[in-house]
Symmetry: D2
Subunit: 386 residues, 4 copies
C-alpha cells in the first residue's frame, strides 16, 4: 500500500497528464465520435472525473455537493449498479457540457479529492483512490488512440504533434528463444497494484515452445500483402474472412497507398512506412492470418508471460492466442467495482505487453489487456511463436 | 431581375444573418450531428459558402485561388456532378476544419464575391448569385431547426436564446372557409425569384371544399392524445402505424411529460405547453391521423394555394395531402443546378406556408416545401380541410 | 348487383382457378418466401380462404365451426381489427399447415359458402361475397408473380409451364396521340364492381399532352443499357440512384447476360429476349430514368385514364407519375374492410392497365394498382408521355 | 483403421439412419429455414451426400458422372476451396431440388460409393470414407435439433414423434466430486476415429477443484427465474445482458408459460416441465448467469475431461468456461478438409459430453463440440464446478 502523500502526488500528476495529452487539440476535436468504440476526448476527461466523484466523494466526503446532478447520466460508462446513462453510441451527439465546463468539473473534483485525502485517509479510501488513478491511466491510453482515430479519420489528416514518435527502435534480426516444457507460475502476487483479473498466482503446464525475440515489422507485413495474404481465405478464420470481405480490408488501419508507396497516418501526420520498425494497428484476425502465412502461430498469454524476461517489450500490445477468461479462483469485487473486469470475459482476446501510448508504470508482465478480435485502433502488433 | 447593387446588399445581409443565427452557440454546438437528417451548424456555414465558390468563383472569377482544395470534398452536399463528398451520415464525425477556419472561409469567399460583382456583372451571374442567396436562406431555416435538435436532444436541455418566441398568436375560434368547385390557376409567374419546382402557372380543377381558417392547436392535439389517438391503428396509414410502434412515438417531438403536465423544449428552453397556440413538430403521419380522428382530412397543396388569401399563414409549415411531384411542363435546369429540386420528387409530401424559422421574404404563396412523411424536426403543423 | 346464382358460379370458378394456377407446382414450391414481398403460394391459398371464413362464415353462418382455430393467426395478412397474426417476413418459415391441409381448408370453406348462399342471400352478403371473389382474383395475380419469383430466384431456374406466353404482341412503330387540354372526368361510376379507391367520379383539369400508343420495348431498353443509362446519375431520382448502387442494379429483374446475349427468365424457363415486345419487370425508378433519357416523361394516372380509349393496354402494368392518393370525397368502408385500401395511400406510385397475369375481368380503365417505387416482381412496364 | 467391409456397413447404416430421422416429416418440413443457424432438413440430406461425391467420387472414381452439376453450388456449406455456394441464409429460399430429387441423389451416391469400395480400397480412401461417415453423423444431430426448431417455431406446435423421450433420468441429490490439483493428460490418442481438434494428447495443470456429479435440473433453473435471475445484471456478462434485453429473453428456449405453469415444446409436442430432469436449451450466457447465482462457476473443458470418469454424462451438451482454441501442436489437414475445424477457433465456447440427439458412438470423453455463446437450439445444459 502506497502512503497517502505519495498517492496524492501520484493522483495530481495523473490528473495533470490527462490534460497535457489534450493540450494540442482544438475544441472541436474534443467532441466527435467517428465510430462507436472511440469516445470523444471530453468524455474521457469527464468520465475519469466522475469515477472519483461517484466512488469516493459521494460516499465518503461529508456534505459534498455534486458539481452537476446530470453529469452522472452523461459520464457513467457502463456501471449498471449506478443508474442510467447515455448509450455509448450517443457520446458524440452531446455538445454540452462544453469543454470548458468539463475542465471546471475536473478542477472541482481534483480539489475536493485533495482536501478529502489531506483531512482523512484509510486503507479502504487509499485503495479506491489507487484504482481511480489506474482507471484514469487506462483512459489516457484510450484518449491518445481515440484522438489518433478522430484525426486519422478526417480527410484533412491533421497533425496532433510533431514531437510524438510512434516507433522507437529499429528491429535487428529476429531470433527464436527456446522454452522448456513444464509447469510455470502465472499471475500477480507482489504488493504492487494490479487489477483483479491478474490475480492470483497459479500453475500452468506448457509444452516446449519457441517464441521470437522481436515484433513483426512493417517490412514483413508488406511481404504478406504483396503475396496476396488478404485474398487467401485458407489463412483466415471464417469470421476473419467475413470481416475482411465485408469491411473491404486490404492493409493495416491508417495505411494509405500513395504513388505506389505505403504511407501511414501517425500522430505526427502522414508519413512513409519505416520498414524495420514494429507493425501496428492490426486486428487479431490479421495477426493470426500473418502467423499462418509464416507457418507459425501466436503465443498463448501463458507462453508470453513465462518467456517475457528473455525479450524486450512495450512498443506494441501483442495479440495472443488466448481468450480472455478468468484465472482459477477469480473473484469479482463487491459492488459497482465488481463490474470492472469480469463482465467482459467472453468473446475477447488477451493482449500482453504495452505500447508507446501506455502511460508510465501502467503495465507489467502480468497485465492482461483485452479487445474484440476485429479491433485495431490500439497500438497492436504481434510476436510469433511455434 | 434585381439590380446588382441591391443584390449585393441582399447577399451581404444574408451572409451576416447566417452568422447572427449562430451567435448564441458554443463552439461544441457547431460540430455534432445527432441524427442523419440534422447537419452540424459549421457544415451549413461551410456548405452555403462552398456553393458560391463552386458555382460562381471557380467558373467566373479569373485567377481565383480556392481557399482550400479539400473543402469541396467536405462541404459538397449531394451534387454528383461536382465530384466525391463526405457521406451525409459522417458530417458529425469531422472535427476539422475548425469553426474558426470555417469563418475565415466565409470571409474569404464573401470578399471575393463582393469584388467580383463590383467589377463585373451579367444576367447570368446575377441569377447565380440570386439562387446562391436563396440557397443560403433555405439553409438558415435548417440551421435553426438543426440547432434546436442538437440542444433538444441533449439531456441537459440547454437554452439557445431567451429572446426567441416560437408561437406568436393565440388562436381564436376556428372557422370553415367555403371554396367553390372549378378551375384554379396554380404556380408562380411573377418577376420575383422562385424555384423551378413552382413554375409554371397551370390550371387545376378543384371540387368544392372547406378549409379551416386556423392551425390546429396544442389543446386540440392534447385531446387526441388523451383519447388514445396514438393507440388506434384505424386512424393511421400502415406505414405510419409501423413508425409509431417501432419508434415508440406517443407525443409530438420535444414534448415531455413532467409531473402530469405537458412541457415542450423550445429555443428558449423547456416550457409549459400553451394550449391555444399552433401545434408544431409533428410528422405527416401524425397530421393525417389527427385529421382522421376529427373526421376531416388535410388539404391538397392546390386547395391550400387556391384558398390562402382567405387566412393568415406563416407560423408553421403545413403538411398537405399532396405528394411532391413535378408540375406540368416542369423542366430541370442544365448542369449541377439541375440537381436542385427534381431529383427529390418521389416519396415526399408537400408542405405549404412557412414557419417562424423561415427567413424574411423567403416564402410565398406558391412555395413548395417537401419532406419525408416521418420527419418532424421542422416547425411543422396542420390545417384541416373537408 | 349480380344475382346470387351467377355470383355463386363466379365464386366457384374463381376458387377453381386459384388451384389451377398451382397445378404445375411441386409441394416444396408452395412453402418458400425468398423475399419479404413474395408470399408462399400456400399462404395465398389459405389467406383467400380465411377471408371468406372471417368476413362471411363467422359472422353470418349460424353454428359454423371454424376449420382450425389457429388458422386466423396464420392466414391473416394485415387486418389489425381482426387480431394478431404471423408477421409477414415469417410466412416462409412455416412448414405447417401442410399443403394438403390447406386444400382441405379450401374445400371446407368453399362448401360452407356454397351452402350458405344456397340457403340465404342478401344484398349485404352478396356484396361481401363479391369483394371476397375480387380479393381472391387480386391474389391470383400475386400468386403467379410470386411463383415466378420463387422459381426465378432458384439457381436451377425451373420451368413453371411451357404453355405460358408472357408477351403476346409484337409492337409496331410507336406513335404519339395528342390530347387536348381541358376538364376530364375521372373515376368509376357504373354499376359494376370496383374498389373504394376508384370512387367517385370527379373532374380533373389536364394541360394538353401527348401519350404514346405503345409500350416501351425490350429493344428500346437495351439501348438505354448500352448507352450507360444505369451509370448516369442525372437520369435518376436521388432515391433511385441510391437503390441502383446499393442493390447493384444493371438490368431489369430476371435478365441474364449469357454469352454476350440478353436472356430473361420466364414462366416457360430461360429464353432469349424478344426485342420488339413490351419490356417488363422494371421499377418506377427505372421507368422514370428511361423516360428522362428519352427526353420524355411518364403520364399521370389521369392522363392515362383520359387517353386510354385511344390505345390498347393490358400486357403490362404501366407505371405512372402519380402518387397513390385518395380521390376527392374518398370514404373508407366501415370495420375491417376499411383497411383494404386507404391505409396504403402514402409512399406508393399508381400503376394503370393490367398484365398478362391479371385474371379475366379483373381490371378496367379506372383500376388503380399501386406499389412502392423500387418493386419490380410484377409484370410492370411503361408508356411514354410528353 | 477399420476394415473396408465393416466400414461399408457403417456407411450404409449411417446413410439409412439419416433418412429414418426424417421419416416422420411432411415434405414441407424439409424446406424451411426459420433462422439462419437452422438448415432445412433436405439441405442436410443433400449436403452430406455432396460431401461423399465431392471428396471421394469426383477425385477417385473413374468415369464418375455427377448426378447434377448444379448441386455443388446448392449443397456446399462453407468450403471456399471448392467454389461458390448458396449463402447460408438463403438455404430456406430454395424449393428445388425437390425432396424426391434429393433422395434420388442420395441413392445414386450411396450406390456409387458402395461400388467404389467394393472394387478398390486403400488407407487414404478408407480415411476419407470414415470422415464422411462421421460428418454425416454430426449432421444427424443438427438434423434433429433443426427439425425441433422448425416445428417448435411453428404456432401450431406440431408433434414430431410421440416415441421420442428427451429426458431419460431423474436426478438424485447432486454431490460434489473433489479433484486434486496436478498435471493431467488431455486429448485423444487411441486408434479410434477422432477429429483433428481433439489431437494430440498433452499435459494441463489443474488447480484443485470440485465438480458436480449431476446436471442442473429444470427445478433449479425455475428457482433462478423466480428469484429474478433474468433481471439481475450483476449475474451476467455485459454481452449476455445485452442479449437478454435485446432478445427479451426470460426463460430457456421452447419454454411456454401456460396457465401459470411452465411447459416446454419437445419432439413429442408440448409438455409440462419435469422438475428433476436435466435442464436444456440454454445459452452459455444463461449457464454462466445461473452458475454466478449459485455462487459457483462452469468447469473448464480440461476439468471436465479430467473428471469425467467420475460421473455419467450424455443427455445434454455441457457448456464449459473454455473458449474453443487449438491444442498445442494443432495441425490443419491439407486441402479442403483443412477447413473442417480450425477456421472456427475464435469467439466460440467448448461444450463437452453429448446429448440425447447425438447418434450412437458419435461422442467420446475427448470430443470438443463448440457453439457461439448465445445459441441454444442444441440440447445444451450445464454442470457446476467450484
Amino acid at each position: 500500500m502506497i502512503l497517502t502523500d505519495t498517492l496524492l502526488d501520484f493522483f495530481l500528476e495523473t490528473r495533470k497528464h490527462s490534460e497535457a495529452l489534450c493540450e494540442p487539440l482544438e475544441i472541436e476535436d474534443y467532441v466527435v465520435q467517428p465510430v462507436v468504440d472511440v469516445s470523444p476526448p471530453k468524455w474521457h476527461l469527464g468520465h475519469t472525473t466522475w469515477f472519483f466523484e461517484e466512488f469516493i466523494l459521494k460516499p465518503y466526503s461529508q456534505d459534498y455537493q455534486l458539481f452537476d446532478e446530470d453529469f452522472s447520466f452523461v459520464f457513467n460508462s457502463y456501471y449498471e449498479t449506478v443508474g442510467k446513462r447515455v448509450v455509448r453510441a450517443d457520446r458524440g451527439n452531446l455538445s454540452r457540457p462544453s469543454v470548458q465546463k468539463v475542465y471546471e468539473y475536473r478542477k472541482y473534483v481534483t480539489e475536493h479529492i485533495s482536501r478529502l485525502f489531506t483531512e482523512k485517509s484509510s486503507k479502504e479510501l487509499n485503495e479506491l483512490l489507487e484504482i481511480g488513478i489506474h482507471h484514469e491511466k487506462q483512459h489516457q491510453e484510450l484518449l491518445l488512440t481515440d484522438i489518433k482515430y478522430i484525426l486519422g479519420n478526417n480527410p484533412l489528416l491533421p497533425v496532433y504533434s510533431t514531437k510524438v514518435e510512434e516507433h522507437v527502435t529499429e528491429n535487428g534480426l529476429p531470433e527464436w528463444i527456446s522454452m522448456d516444457g513444464g509447469v510455470y507460475e502465472i499471475g500477480h502476487d507482489s504488493e504492487e497494484f494490479c487489477y483483479d483479473n491478474e490475480l492470483g498466482k497459479h500453475k500452468v503446464y506448457l509444452e516446449p515452445y519457441e517464441i521470437s525475440n522481436s515484433l513483426v515489422t512493417n517490412a514483413e507485413f508488406q511481404e504478406f500483402i504483396e503475396d496476396g495474404g488478404y485474398q487467401k481465405f485458407e489463412l483466415w478464420h471464417a469470421e476473419g474472412w467475413d470481416w475482411v470481405n465485408e469491411q473491404k480490408i486490404s492493409a493495416p488501419l491508417y495505411w494509405h497507398r500513395i504513388n505506389e508507396e505505403w504511407h501511414h497516418f501517425t500522430l505526427g501526420g502522414l508519413q512513409s512506412i519505416v520498414p524495420n520498425t514494429p507493425l501496428t494497428h492490426i486486428s487479431y484476425f490479421e495477426a493470426f492470418a500473418f502467423a499462418q502465412w509464416k507457418g507459425c502461430r501466436l503465443p498463448t498469454e501463458f507462453e508470453w508471460e513465462a518467456a517475457q524476461r528473455s525479450f524486450s517489450w512495450g512498443e506494441r500490445w501483442e495479440w495472443t492466442e488466448s481468450a480472455y477468461l478468468p484465472y482459477p479462483g477469480y473473484l469479482k469485487a463487491e459492488g459497482a467495482l465488481g463490474e470492472y473486469n469480469g463482465k467482459f470475459m467472453v468473446s475477447q482476446k488477451v493482449l500482453r505487453g504495452g505500447s508507446i501510448a501506455t502511460p508510465n508504470n501502467h503495465t507489467r508482465a502480468t497485465y492482461r489487456n483485452f479487445f474484440h478480435p476485429q479491433l485495431r485502433w490500439q497500438y497492436t502488433g504481434l510476436r510469433l511463436a511455434r
